[in-house]
Symmetry: C2
């Protein structure tokens, strides 16, 4: 008997990181400010979680200058997309087992 | 623009705790050993996460003796079921936004 939560990868599953990868799946690439606003995070919190994802090889970060202003672009790597797809599959398996509509 | 990850409750979302509440939704109540085996956890890890859920009011823990052996029963409270149902709704909203089948 294998429970689907065993297939969840904590690097991807953590709430903020799941949000980052979800956005990057939808938008291909996003800048730091867009991620911060969309996910309602502080600079520090977003930076910390991006670092975890970059260390895992799940996102690539590119620091550029546009009209003399720094702009940080983030995109999911192929490895990151695969990890996110695995997470989504595990979550779907989990949701298939529960019927919360029958809840309290 | 509201992203569904904003609706995830970290107390419920954390991988092990999500697993505990999923099992308790399926089985009404479970004993400590069953949870530990099903979710493939150590005693210490399961205890720590049960404590977080109990403090949040999401599970009730009952220590009993059966045939002179201690047995710990765990069940989700009404509040815990509601929190889990909210998490499931947020996850469904998140999954509805992504199409990983179109991935790499």
């Amino acid at each position: 008997m294998t429970h689907p939560v065993r297939d969840l990868d904590e690097v991807v599953h953590q709430r903020v990181r799941l949000g980052i990868l979800a956005v990057l799946t939808e938008t291909k690439r996003a800048d730091f400010t867009f991620l911060r606003t969309t996910l309602e995070l502080t600079d520090g919190n977003l930076s910390r979680h991006l670092q975890v994802l970059e260390t895992a090889g799940y996102v690539a970060i590119e620091k550029t200058y546009e009209r003399r202003r720094p702009r940080t672009w983030v995109r999911a790597t192929r490895q990151g997309r695969t990890a996110f797809a695995r997470e989504v599959a595990a979550l779907r398996a989990l949701l298939d087992r529960v019927s919360p509509e029958e809840g309290p």
